[in-house]
Symmetry: C2
Subunit: 255 residues, 2 copies
DNA sequence: TTCCGGCAAGTGGTACGACCAATCGCGCCG
DNA sequence: CGGCGCGATTGGTCGTACCACTTGCCGGAA
């Protein structure tokens, strides 16, 4: 099956087997080859948590080599759509932000993206999250936000504050019940926490101040409790003002 | 969290060559294996547009097989960080939204994400974009926005309106000069335009109304011209209100 | 000299087969 | 009855070979 005699003007070569991958393509980006699409369909049909056929079997069924199949699987794994465990199998899972976070990290350190621009995205997302969380008003989820605030109050070190801060926003996001918002904001938050900490270390300034942090976060929490959408959005924006001067300081170039 | 040193008896076996990939890992997600990190470093060091060494050579230099290397390259290509051209080479490029768009499309059709939640993210990003574009006030870029508005005015078919609508938001995003914002919003816009069109077709309702579209977009353009940040943000939010009832209609399940 | 065509080397894309490593299940033994 | 170990399964990697495409060089023709 390797080489079909005619140096095909039509179908390339290989894959001659009963491959049934369709040739659907539209403006979904350069990743939409037939094989990826076939896999996407498969993942769609199997539900979340389902296990895919073994690579060897799946490769045969799709009429491609195992290596080519693994290429695409790796890609989907990178996006967090698949989870592969050696010795066990490949499973479908919810979209996870790790892949995006990885890409953003890389883009950030390669200077394709600036902290400032990422921060601006985060501000927009968090504002929306605050509004939606307030509108939804889930008492349990908002309770978790309060818990994080209490942790911040009890924090002893700068790292503890950071941790509580992170948890606060994590809880806020989950209080929206909005999967897409959570997905994006999770990725942003992870990247920015690392980046900001680095920058803070470099600048040797802006040690976390507990009172300042509390003053910034508490109004947001109270707006959530009150279910006041506008106030929550405003409080979120206000709370990010603290970061503003950190970003407007003179830049330090990468060494 | 990822690797606890206890398990490893050292480097496994194969690849006996003098691999020098470092073992750096922190909370960057499950994608941070040594090989990916080494590649990330390489990409960081080479600049944008640079060409990577041939796969065969790079594989040898990193002490892995070509297949394993290709796995990671594929991943980075998926994120839009690399571009590979058969016969030519592998090149570093700016982070491109196609990969994210692909993943979102998949997550959307697999029902991991809802149109509504994606839309909510887009609203947040567009509002931010409108504000930043107004603040920046780049006359040339804003001119492109006006051009798209004129195209919308001249549109004859629903598809023409869609195209102009798309161009309008594209121009708006680029008028911010914010790479991260553009990256995310580009991906969202692509996914949502396709999804909304599908839903509109299924519901057999909401044919694009040119006057309505113009009425929604013009105030935003005028706010940009005026450089009024608040008005631009508000106009952006208002302009999305048009979509609201499309999403609150009774759902249709996938067939 | 200039231009064009074709050949050859380089490079990514894929295939196949083999083996390693982790996991899981079944059956044996205590 | 329960724990343990062996073997089958499955993903992870390696190596080799070949195909398809790109690029650039070189020689012949205008």
């Amino acid at each position: 099956m390797t080489t079909d005699p005619a140096t095909g003007p039509g179908s390339p070569s290989g894959a001659g087997a009963g491959s049934d991958v369709a040739a659907a393509d539209f403006a979904s980006g350069s990743l939409s080859d037939a094989l990826s699409d076939a896999l996407s369909d498969l993942i769609r049909d199997l539900g979340e948590g389902a296990r895919l056929p073994p690579e060897r079997e799946l490769a045969e069924r799709l009429g491609v080599s195992r290596g080519a199949l693994r290429d695409r699987l790796r890609l989907l794994e990178g996006f967090g759509v698949l989870s592969r465990r050696q010795g066990s199998g490949t499973y479908v899972r919810r979209l996870a932000p790790q892949g995006l976070e990885f890409a953003l990290d890389l883009a950030l350190s390669a200077s394709h993206l600036s902290i400032e621009s990422l921060h601006s995205v985060r501000v927009a997302l968090e504002r929306q999250a605050a509004r939606e969380a307030a509108r939804k008003g889930d008492p349990v989820a908002i309770g978790h936000v309060g818990k994080a605030l209490a942790d911040m109050e009890a924090a002893a070190t700068a790292e503890d504050i950071d941790r509580a801060d992170f948890a606060f926003h994590q809880a806020l996001l989950h209080a929206t019940g909005n999967a897409a918002l959570t997905f994006f904001a999770d990725a942003m938050t992870g990247v920015l926490f690392r980046a900001v900490r680095q920058r803070r270390d470099r600048l040797k300034t802006h040690p976390r101040d507990k009172e300042l942090s509390l003053a910034a976060h508490r109004p947001l929490y109270e707006a959530l409790l009150a279910g006041d959408e506008d106030a929550a959005g405003q409080a979120s924006d206000d709370h990010f003002q603290v970061w503003h001067d950190l970003f407007t300081q003179p830049e330090m170039q990468r060494p």
